[in-house]
Symmetry: D3
Subunit: 286 residues, 6 copies
């Protein structure tokens, strides 16, 4: 497995509780009206398609926070592949709680596994090259930590977490530089005021911008929407003086060719901006 | 336009602030390092594809809550269609704030418009029939209110909001009925204890279940994963004694045929469980 | 017992913690100044008057959240009747915690049992008729979930929970109908846009309004402040085409006659708008 | 007017928002379904019985926070008396907002005015004596600040706010005193450790306890459930060495006689533990 | 030990969680990147200087809330003195959690012990006199409860907690008295409206103000920035008719002389307004 | 001025509101008891010692959030120096609000200006060298954002914000490296999994550790508690292959010599771990 960082338990609990309250603000009236309080149930989390798991702890938290007597055991773990038809987990305990928590738990694990599975496809497509696949800030409002974790489960890497923890100067920033507008000077001035731990990345749209940016001593240069030809030329021109990130219009069809151009990072908005929930469901046993 | 209910301003503010804090916990260091505090900018929200708008108030809130001096004016409004290449809104004001709010604002309006646009396709496909298209509880954790609103923007209808406001008895509930297990009696007993305002809907998997369910006096009967032949038979058998909802495996390809079977409601999980962000972006003016 | 739905544990914990913080923002200085930290105590929750219990879990939570070593055991349970002088519960553990939690615990159980006891009087008064007793939205701000639960403990039913989960059109809504002002058409249009799970109830003030309302296909018709004669006439006129709710000026003196008129629902604001706390107290043992 | 302290605006906003969210978590669907967005309305807050007003700012906040365009003007102000049939306030603005906020606003002003009105009765009954009427900690969970303010509106005084801001040693504390159990010594030790700003009050059940308590130099001595004869004897015995509070079983019938006994403070649990909502309502104009 | 009141567990948990989230919003990436998940560690909380301990429960909470498997045992307890080089506590458990919680735990215990140690110096300097040392409201925003507790650990006393729980009229209040400006009358009027449990303290700047203040029957009189000569004269003049508090420019150099003047209370802003963190650290064992 | 990043308004409002609620949970009873509601006042924020300002926006927020009619105008701005006796700001408006907000406002601006002033001393001491002065994570729990801002106001730089946004491997991490314990390999492995934007810094205790750390390609190497001789040797050995940070026991006395050794960064825990509040106060005008 490529990733390392687990989610903080307090963060998971908060987001799961928020989802629980959204889905049952004053309880599950169907279960309480129809299912006896003492009824027990066993269910299996099964999959109708192959994929990579992400979200086991959130699924478990949804169950346990709804009824502490529910026992969840996962046979597959985050970051592991599974085949269509696999049984991923077994849940046992009070039926009312299990029915109440079902949709909340599924909503997390289906979406996160959808991200992990798609990420794994991109990662597989660049195997053997120097490039890493990263996410972007095109995440679902409120769920960035979870979606970045899902990217890691799929073997991808994370980009900066937010606007606060790294500099990424885009075309609009460069167009708005202060008086004088000397790009190299502006970047140097910025670096002199930023924490020494702050990574500085700059996006360029064409080859001529590369040298003035490198002259300022940036850490990463992003080649945005470059043609394949220009991308290869850009990588050659940078020549290891900074990391190279390719970005813009990256698809599964194009990614192998992009990776072959020799950059270090390929950022893929589609990993999180258009999530397809994986087809998972709960099967109740008799 | 088919829908009516706007989002509550306090709810919008809360979710936008959450997203803002997630994306810039201690500010946008790139803009502050590179863009002069006094720089002004104008940008246009433009679209690269046709669709239906949803989320204008959230986009506006993202701008205004970041910097109260930003002025946003939408030329297209929620629920309205637009063509590829259209300019949806104009934003003007301090450049730092505009750059900081850009991604938060886009993340909302791209996802919500993606839902509205997809919903509109389903709604168009059933035009002329008696069926309404509804969402499900397969929504993104924490964003159900927004996603249901987006469904309304696309001309769809909402299903029950949560486990707390209507009964929807599914196969697993029926399998877990209390002692005796008499379905009709159990449903009657539930109704006698539930608020008189609570809608009671029951899912059935096969035609034989219809009569015992109707005998209990339910409001809606859901025919789940019925073959087309059985669906038509089911509608005929119910014969107006309850509303009929068709559900399960609904796709754009199948929906016209399903609607033609004569039911009242078709619920479509895909409206929200697999959101594709619409391709919108901000274009900055010189 | 007539009711079913327990309170969600997370909701109880939140409201109990709020009350604890209100009553002891920086601790119980009296107990800490006078009572040794190691002192143990036993107390009994006793009642000076007969009633119906409600709030045992909140009382227990107040004790356990103040000091996890406090052990509470109830001899009577929510929804059960007790006589004057009965011992309802026994509490044992650290004296400081018991003294600190006493008032918070009592404030919950006294008020909720007051509601349950009053509700039971109304329910008893309509025994043998077709009518159910329901609460209204005249609840204490912030405590609606608890007060509705107390109504259920007393054998009553709940009305809609809030403005969001059912339609209840009152005289003021009808006076403000849109252009045209055709009541039947307006109600039909509303229903076509509302979720199919939304119950539609309409209040009428006089017999002539009944037919236009029924023509729109509403679920419940509320006969508000009708004379007894008109109420009986109204029930006869509706003739099962919708549920009938009687409302307005309902008192213990009048309710038997109202119920005898044959309606389905009688809503009683007094259940919650004027709560008399039941006379319960803690008796400490030597 | 006897009172001085207004509620903090931030506190009012918090409790009003909580009530608003409880009563309309996803909006007022009735108004949105039936009343045109552009409809305007005028309503008057009228009373069906005489009383003392409390809660005007909360009523106003409920309106303004629901729709900032609603304009509220009160003709009567907090602490002022009004006759049955009086018009207390006028509200004008968008009809949807007015209808949505109606019940929330009324729930506050009816309960608070109920407390103020009852308090004023007690205060009138002791006019001309040295006694002040105070509330207790028997308040509604979460609403203590509001209910204490309502007591002030009625001309009453507040007792300590919580367990944290004054010492009030009751029988159970005295029974649990530390080793030795010397009451005078224990009270002196407590005072030596408490902030010098902390008021120390001690409850006694019989006349013999008065001297040992006074020997410790307490600020107030509470004579709890004393017979009238003992109460007069107790006041005479204290003889100004501490304030005297009478407590226990205080009713409107008994209070004049209690006050005549000459104490300084009479605490009345009934002011807040059994609130009767005043009969106020909104009348809409044509 | 002089103090009594422990911190409420819920308050400690809240402030520790806030600090944890501030210091590791999405985890400790260094430990997760370098330290194996299964690594165990033992560390000792050691001190490089002598002092008085405060904050053991917060340190423990920081560890346990980060990883419930961490076991913390303190050899020294809050309020106890320790020598330079002492080992104060032992922590054992998962290395990642211990490393993540280290700085949060230290930040609490270093600051609070710094306050306790400084307080103890002031307390020692007034030993044998009638004066108690108190804190002021010059505390760190958000940490007043903790800092007051640290003062108690050092043997000091607390002053009023906030503007809400006692009256302290300063020169600016006196200058702004209402119409008439009669100080004695104004103080009497205030007292007649305040709860009888509210302590009334008044600050005076010169000897002539003492009599009019005492005439109103205040509880404490503060002699602010008095010369030593005037301070002694003031104490003599008050002559036990109220408590006397000396305040203003109190330093370790001057405090013995101030205390010798015979007042009851000396308030010291420096206890909390300029905290020096005690030099504590974690030593990891091999 | 050296710094750039302002505090986010939402963050300032949150922390100021927290402080306001802590200092006046149910209002300022002294001002309400003594000062007429209509009284107006003017006050000046004056300083008794020279320094550098920080916190003007927090001071202003404390005033404006307490009473929106208070008008604050600063004559000196954050980051600017002032002399003893200077008037920093003028406040005018309702006297009650001004008195209530006084201590909250002062608590912020005194502490933050204390940090800024101390930082400026350190910065001045290294003028003319290549070294920047940075803060550490030894900040007050809950106030890190404010204290880092104050450091910037004083001309200092910030270090990483938290455990989440940069790697800083200390001796304890290195001692706990996984199986094999090859430092260079472990650092390389970590970097391959971390975001490419993550800065990697490693602390070393002695000269021999420098080469294995540099071999892994780190961004910054921290020379911790080095003798002056070793520090100079270390800087020479690194020779620009990474940034060099000096740390450990840095004081105003030693810092010039440390800076002369030629490193890039000197981190100073004392900037924030032992804050001395600057001597500022409010002077009220007649």
């Amino acid at each position: 497995m490529t990733w390392f960082a687990r989610l903080e338990p307090a963060q998971m609990e908060r987001v799961v509780r928020m989802a629980m309250e959204e889905d049952a603000p004053w309880g599950d009236i169907t279960s309480q009206a129809l299912v006896p309080a003492e009824a027990q149930a066993v269910a299996h989390l099964a999959t109708r398609e192959a994929g990579v798991l992400s979200g086991e702890d959130l699924f478990t938290a949804a169950m346990e926070l709804t009824d502490a007597r529910l026992v969840v055991s996962f046979a597959v773990h985050d970051g592991e592949r599974f085949a269509a038809g696999a049984v991923l987990a077994r849940i046992e305990g009070p039926a009312r709680g299990l029915l109440q928590a079902e949709r909340v738990g599924l909503n997390f694990v289906q979406r996160m596994s959808g991200i992990a599975t798609l990420t794994a496809e991109y990662v597989a497509a660049v195997a053997g090259t120097s490039a890493r696949i990263t996410d972007t800030r095109k995440t679902t409002p409120g769920l960035r930590l979870l979606e970045r974790y899902a990217v890691r489960c799929g073997g991808g890497h994370n980009h900066r977490f937010s606007l606060s923890d790294a500099v990424l100067a885009k075309d609009n920033h460069l167009a708005l530089l202060g008086a004088g507008g000397d790009l190299t000077a502006a970047l140097r001035a910025a670096r002199s005021r930023l924490p020494h731990t702050t990574h500085v990345e700059v996006e360029v749209d064409r080859l001529e911008q590369i040298e003035p940016v490198l002259a300022a001593g940036v850490d990463t240069i992003m080649l945005d929407n470059f043609s394949m030809e220009d991308l290869r030329a850009g990588v050659a021109q940078v020549a290891g003086r900074a990391l190279v990130e390719a970005s813009g219009g990256v698809t599964l069809e194009r990614i192998a060719e992009i990776a072959a151009a020799g950059g270090d990072v390929i950022s893929v908005g589609a990993l999180t901006h258009s999530v397809r929930a994986l087809d998972l469901g709960l099967d109740f046993s008799a």
